[in-house]
């Protein structure tokens, strides 16, 4: 039964609520109205009795008048009227109370009734005597009847008075209770209205509670929380249907997400595999390259070559191979370490010597060194790549004698290393490229793999500031000038 009720459509439920609430109000109204009506009826009866008495009084007057009329005129009309009125009066008297009770009204009614019968009898006899022309008798009877008529009238009058008195009292009582009942009724109505409002509130709350739950769940889902228990379906109404659909939706979203997650995982695994392959390849390449340019092997062989040259007495060859060995050893030893300006300058000397041997003294190398700065630390493999850059891009392609000037001097607290060449120079774009440390497309061909961008980056890291090097070129064929600024303060510590 209960589930059946629950499964009713929402519309029917709402209708049921309003209907039942209205029915309640209606019932109470009916009770109130009925009570008020019956009270009003009672108030009505209070005065009906008085009316009846007045009618009675009028009726007996008619009897008396008709009798008198007949006695006066003896017309058959008067007689007829008399019979009619007597009949009427008798009927009215019939209805009077004949019991004896505590109420004076009842007793008076009884008295009136009894007296009326005697009176009617008396009148009848008067009429008979008159018709029988018994003058003395009808006069006597008439007197008696009139006396009785007077008594009855007094009784009716008194009864009327008494009744009115009692009725007034009753009326007052009735009216007060009527008012009281009215107030009580109004109060009850007010209470009922409020209670009904509360009832509707509670009932509808009961109805829409599943909706609220649904909303809360939807909020949860909106926040991304799919790990929720499915909503209970309380009834098979519209809300129940929506709840079911919602539950289904949540489940299918969960499924979908799970699928997505799985496919993403497989993709990631694939990518990882690919990357690993690449890394292995690179590793292999690197190993291969490393094997190719193993410096130890190189400079050991060079050493062997130098010794051979010395044994054969070829001094210049010996020196050349020796320097070359030195050069490579530096590369191997100091590749990643901090060195001093002096050490770097030595490397540059070696490099220039090698180049000059190779290119038979084409490069004029000048040095102007503040020897107090030789111990200033700097990263390794900085100056050689710059010289290489000067040679490769500045001097090689120019006509005439290439010159490179190396100067180390103090500039306040900073040691400045300046490298000048008289080569073809650089355009502004190239300079900016150099400064920003972005590799120039063609710079891959630098001899030992260290490009200007690398130099720049390492210098910046070492000093810890951006303006560590400046590149100037006054234009085409006017050479270029590299300046490196190094903090001297640190020399004191060394």
């Amino acid at each position: 039964m209960k589930t059946k009720l629950r499964n009713l459509p929402l519309q029917v439920k709402m209708m049921g609520i309003t209907l039942s609430v209205n029915l309640l109000v209606f019932m109470i109204n009916i009770v109130l109205l009925f009570s008020i009506n019956s009270m009003a009826d009672k108030i009505d009866t209070v005065y009906r009795a008085n009316l009846e008495l007045n009618e009675l009084s009028a009726s007996i007057k008619a009897v008396q008048d008709n009798m008198t009329e007949f006695l006066n005129t003896k017309t058959s009309d008067a007689l007829e009227d008399y019979y009619k009125s007597a009949q009427e009066y008798e009927e009215m008297v019939e209805d009077l109370d004949s019991g004896v009770s505590e109420k004076a009204l009842d007793r008076m009614q009884r008295s009136i009734k009894n007296m009326s019968y005697i009176y009617l009898n008396e009148v009848e006899q008067t009429i008979e005597a008159k018709r029988g022309r018994n003058v003395e008798k009808y006069r006597e009877r008439y007197d008696d009847a009139t006396k009785l008529y007077g008594y009855i009238n007094t009784y009716i009058y008194s009864l009327n008075n008494e009744q009115f008195k009692e009725n007034s009292e009753n009326y007052r009582g009735l009216v007060t209770s009527f008012r009281r009942f009215e107030t009580a009724g109004n109060l009850i109505m007010i209470v009922v209205i409020f209670a009904n409002a509360l009832l509707i509130l509670k009932l509808t709350e009961q109805l829409i509670r599943p909706l609220r739950n649904l909303k809360g769940m939807a909020d949860e889902v909106a926040k991304g929380n799919f790990e929720i228990a499915s909503l209970p379906v309380e009834a098979e109404d519209e809300i129940g249907v929506v709840t079911k659909a919602f539950n289904k939706m949540v489940v299918s979203i969960q499924d979908y997400i799970e699928k997505m997650r799985k496919s993403a995982e497989t993709e990631r695994e694939l990518k990882e595999k690919e990357l690993k392959m690449e890394a292995h390849l690179k590793d292999a390449q690197l190993k291969y390259l490393q094997a190719q340019i193993n410096p130890h092997f190189l400079f050991n062989t060079l050493n062997a070559g130098a010794q051979l040259a010395m044994m054969e007495g070829a001094d210049r060859t010996y020196e050349y191979v020796q320097v070359m060995a030195e050069f490579f050893r530096y590369n191997v030893k100091k590749g990643e370490k901090t060195v001093t300006i002096g050490e770097e300058l030595e490397l540059v000397d070696n490099y220039i010597y090698i180049l000059n041997v190779r290119f038979s003294g084409e490069i004029h190398y000048e040095k102007e060194i503040d020897s107090s700065l030789l111990n200033v630390p700097m990263p390794a493999m900085i100056l050689q790549p710059i010289i290489e850059n000067c040679v490769n891009h500045g001097i090689r392609d120019m006509m005439g004698e290439g010159k490179i000037k190396m100067s180390v001097y103090r500039l306040d607290d900073v040691a400045c290393i300046c490298i000048e060449d008289n080569g073809i120079g650089m355009d502004q774009e190239t300079i900016e490229h150099l400064m920003n440390g972005t590799p120039i497309s063609s710079s891959k061909k630098s001899s030992n793999g260290i490009g200007m961008d690398n130099v720049m980056a390492r210098l910046k890291l070492f000093v810890g500031s951006e303006d560590v090097m400046s590149v100037e070129s006054e234009g085409e064929n006017k050479g270029s000038k590299f300046k490196i600024y190094l903090d001297i303060k640190e020399t004191d510590d060394v």
């Binding site: 009770v31 019991g99 004896v100 009884r110 009894n114 008594y151 009058y157 209670a195 009961q206």
Partner: protein, 351 residues
Amino acid sequence: MKKVRGYLNSIIIWAITGVLVCLTGLLIFFFISYSKTLRKTEQKEHYDKYYAMISTDSKSSFWQSLYKSTFEAGKEKNAYVDMISENLSKEYSETELMEIAIASGVDGIIVEANESDEMTEAIHKAYEMGIPVVTLNTDNRKSERISFVGISNYELGSEYGKLVLSMATSKPFPDESIKVVVLVDANADDLGQNILFSAMQETIESASKVIVKPIEMSMFLVDESSNFSVEESVRNMFIENRNDLPDIVVCLNEIDTTSVYQTVVEYNDVGLVNILGYYDSEAILKGIERNVIYATISIDAKQMGQYCIDALSEYLEYGNTSQYFVADVSVINSSNVSAYREEEENENKAP
């Protein structure tokens, strides 16, 4: 949590519905009980017999108490006693009231009769209609009344005689003789009054050896025919005889007593005129307490009422009853007035 709320909700709903249903029920209950009380007021007790009581001075406390006791006695026999003049808007004479009672078809009549022919005739009419008549307090001896309920005039006379004697012996009177005036009803050709008077005389004479001063007895006729004549008559007596005021006034009914008492107080004759009263109304008892009234005769009204009802019921049941019912009398004076009052109060409280 949500489930708990749901339960709470349905509990509230049921509670409200319950309250509403209760309210409706309450309303219906109210209404039913209300109409019941209305019906209750309409409910009436029915009586088997209906007796009419007729008296000229039905408003006096003596007759009121007589009526009350008769009514109570009648109620026990399931008979309603009605003072029929009470509810009428017009004043009727006793004989007219008798006629009304007869025409109304009452089961019995209790009347304060007199010896007039009209009364006799009225009683005869009732007799003819088969309605028994009991005369109360005063009689109509020549009529066909079934019984007389009252006090013995002889006994009353001797009581008054004794009171006069006790006064004569205990109180100083300035004059040579003690003047005793008995107020009698002028209109009533009442043998009873004569019996009373002679009983008084007899009592006084029998003790003539004891009396110091001679006692002069006389009657004063009080006009009781019309409504206010008693008071006027009494007043006249005091105005006309200023130089020869009676020493003792004997009153034979309540109205006389009250009137004399009032006049004595007004004319400042307290102490000069001694009053012997009749009946124990509040005013008379007060008079005794203030020593204006020397003593009064109290009649057992309850007994009289009972006798009336007894007579009527017996007659209606068996066809005859005793002709005379004599009620007890007692004397109230300053010595026992407070005790009498207490007793009366207790009696009033008792039912």
